[in-house]
Amino acid sequence: MSLMRRIPPLLPFLLCAGVMVSLQQLMRATGTQYCLTQLTMSLYYAIVVMGLCLLMGHAGQVSLGHGAFFAIGGYTSAVLTTHNFSAWGHSSLGGWLQQGGVLIAKEDVFGNAILTVSPWAAFLAAMLLTTLVALLIGYPALRLRGHYLAMATLGFGLIVSKLLVGSTLTGAADGINGVPPWPLAGSLTVTGKTAARVQNYYIACALVLLLLLLLRNLLRSRIGRALQAIHDRETAANAMGISTAAYKLKVFLLSAWLAALAGVFFTHFTGGIGPSEAGAFKSVRYVALAAAGGMANLWGVTVVSTALNYASLRGWFGSLDNAVFGILLILIITLAPQGPLKPLGAWLRRVLRLRNLSEERLERS
C-alpha cells in the first residue's frame, strides 16, 4: 500500500502502453506480426478476467458462468449482423429501422441483396440482452453463497452452451461465420483482415487500458471499499449502511457487461464465434486465470491472463490445453491462494530490505 502511494498514478498505464508498443515493434522486427492476432484475442479474453477480478477478487462472489456472458455478447452480435432481415424490408417498421441506420442493406457472398442489423445496433442489443440475463440470473443466484453460487452459475453456463449447440439460429455446433467488420469511428474498424492487424491490436490495447483505468478508479472509491467490505465481512458491511444485495447484483452485472463487451469485439475481430466459448471449460479457465493473477490484483490478472491465453492460442500447451489451466488452478489454490504475485512481491521486498540492511551495516563498519 505504502509502495503504491509513491508511484505516480498514471505511471503503470504508460508503462503498460510502452510494453504494448514494444511487443508490436518486436514482432515487426522479427517478422512474426501474425502473432499479433493471438495477442489481440488474448487481450479481449483478458477483459472477461478483469470482470471476474472485480466480482470474485473484490466483491467475493464466485462465478463459473462468465463464458456464457461472453458468448451471449458475441452471439447476439453475430446473429444480428449476419441474419437476413429482408422480410422486414417492406414493412413500415423495416423502413423506419433502415432510415435510422439500425438495418443496413448489403450483398451476401453470392451477390444477393440482404438486410442485416448494423454492428453498432447489434452491440447495443447484445448489451441489453446481457443486462436482462444477468439480472435474471444474478437476482436469485446472488442470494446463494460460496459453493452454491458456483454451482448455480456453472449450471447457467451449461444451459447457455447447450442452447447454442441446439439452436439452428446460432448455427448449432458450427457456430456463426462471416460476421462483418465493425466500423467504430472514422477508419477505425474491428476486423480480422490482415491489413488491419496492427490497427486492431492497438484497438484492443486501447480498450484494455481504458477499462483498467475506469476499474482502478472504481476500486479506489467508496464503491470499491463497499465491494471489499462485502468480501471481508458481509454482515458488518450491511450494518454500516451498505445495501449488500444491491451491490452484489450491480457488480455481477458490471462483470457480465465486461464479458459481453469482450465477446462482441472478439466476434467482430475473428469474424465468427462457436459454442465452445460458452463451455464450462472456458468459464473455469477464466476463474483459473483470475486466480493466477492474484484475484484482487487488477494489473496482475490482466497481464497473467493475456500471457497465458496467448500461450494457449499459439498452441504451446498442445492437446493438454484444458489440463494446463486445471492444474494451474489446483496449484494456485493449494500453494498460493492469494495468487503467485503477492508472495513474489513479498519475497522481492524482503530481498531488497535485506540488501539495504547489509549496506547500512557496511556503512557503519
Binding site: M1, L218, G241
Partner: protein, 284 residues
C-alpha cells in the same frame, strides 16, 4: 422516566400527542424471537430516551446479543414491534436501519481485514456519500472532493478514539483492544443517532476500560444515545443511566443502577448476592 412499558407506545398519531413527555428514541415492545424450540427473546419491552446510556445486562444466554441483532435488523422478530424515532423498523434490512441512524459494534470486532484502519472507518461514511459506479469510474466532477471529505471525516473519528497515528496500518495487524476502537470509530463515522455496543469492554485491560468509559461518556455528550450490553458490572453500573436485566430471554427488571443493585429478583436469579461486593467501591 417511567420504565414500565406504556400501553400505547405505537399510537397512530404518534409524536404530536406526546407533547407532555420526551419522545423515546427507541421503543421495543413485546419482541419475541425463537430458534427452533429455544425462545431466545421472550416478549421483551423497553424504551431508550434521547441522550441516555442504557445498559443491557444478564447472564450468558439471556438473549442480549439476540436482542441487539433484532434491533439492528440482522434478525427478524417473530412477534412484537420495534420503533426508532416513532417509526416502526422491525423487518427492515440492516443497511436501512443503519441509514435511519442506528449503528453498532460487534462482540467480536468485525473489521474488514483486507483494508487499512482508515479505509475501515471510511466504509462507515458510505451512506453519507452519493457517487455511484459511473461517477466513481469516470471520476466525474465532485468525486475527488467527496472522497476527500470522506477521508477527513474518517480521520476525525480516528482522532476521537485516539488511533489517528495508526490510520495506514493494515486492520489485521492491530491487537484486540485497538480493533475494538477502530470498530467504534467506524460506527461513529456513520453519524448515528443511536449506538449499540456489544460488550465493548470484554478483552480490555483495566486501563483500556477506563479510557473506554471516558470515551463512551464523550460520545453521549455529543448527543448520541447509547445502548450497551456489558458483562463488566462495575463499568455498567458507573456508566448507565438505566439498566434492563434479561434472564432466559425475558425482562426481569429495569431501572437506574441503584435500584437494580438492590432489586431482590436480580440479586437472586442473576447476581447471586454478589452485586454489593462487586460495586461497593463505586457507591457514594
Amino acid at each position: 422516566m417511567n420504565p414500565a412499558p406504556s400501553s400505547t407506545p405505537f399510537a397512530p398519531d404518534g409524536p404530536s400527542t406526546a407533547s407532555t413527555a420526551v419522545q423515546p428514541l427507541l421503543e421495543v415492545e413485546n419482541v419475541r424471537r425463537s430458534f427452533g424450540g429455544l425462545v431466545a427473546v421472550d416478549g421483551v419491552s423497553f424504551r431508550v430516551f434521547p441522550g441516555q446510556i442504557k445498559g443491557l445486562i444478564g447472564p450468558n444466554g439471556a438473549g442480549k446479543t439476540t436482542l441487539f441483532n433484532l434491533v439492528c435488523g440482522l434478525l427478524r422478530p417473530d412477534a412484537g414491534r420495534i420503533a426508532f424515532q416513532g417509526r416502526p423498523i422491525e423487518g427492515w434490512k440492516p443497511y436501512r436501519i443503519a441509514r435511519a441512524g442506528i449503528s453498532r459494534t460487534f462482540q467480536n470486532p468485525s473489521l474488514f481485514l483486507q483494508m487499512n484502519v482508515l479505509e475501515n472507518v471510511m466504509v462507515g461514511r458510505h451512506s453519507r456519500a452519493r457517487r455511484g459506479f459511473l461517477g466513481c469510474a469516470l471520476r466525474l466532477p465532485g468525486q475527488a472532493a467527496e472522497e476527500r471529505t470522506i477521508r477527513q471525516a474518517a480521520m476525525q473519528q480516528l482522532e476521537v478514539v485516539g488511533l489517528a497515528h495508526l490510520a495506514m496500518f493494515p486492520a489485521g495487524s492491530l491487537p484486540f483492544g485497538q480493533r475494538r476502537l477502530v470498530e467504534l470509530a467506524r460506527a461513529l463515522a456513520t453519524e448515528p443517532r443511536m449506538l449499540l455496543l456489544d460488550e465493548p469492554a470484554s478483552g480490555l485491560n483495566t486501563k483500556e476500560k477506563e479510557d473506554l468509559a471516558d470515551l463512551i461518556r464523550q460520545i453521549r455528550d455529543r448527543g448520541i444515545t447509547l445502548l450497551l450490553v456489558e458483562h463488566d458490572m462495575s463499568l455498567v453500573m458507573r456508566l448507565a443511566d438505566e439498566i434492563v436485566v434479561l434472564h432466559h430471554g425475558a425482562r426481569i427488571a429495569e431501572g437506574p443502577p441503584q435500584v437494580i443493585q438492590n432489586d431482590p429478583t436480580v440479586i437472586n436469579v442473576y447476581l447471586g448476592g454478589n452485586l454489593d461486593h462487586a460495586t461497593s467501591s463505586q457507591e457514594s
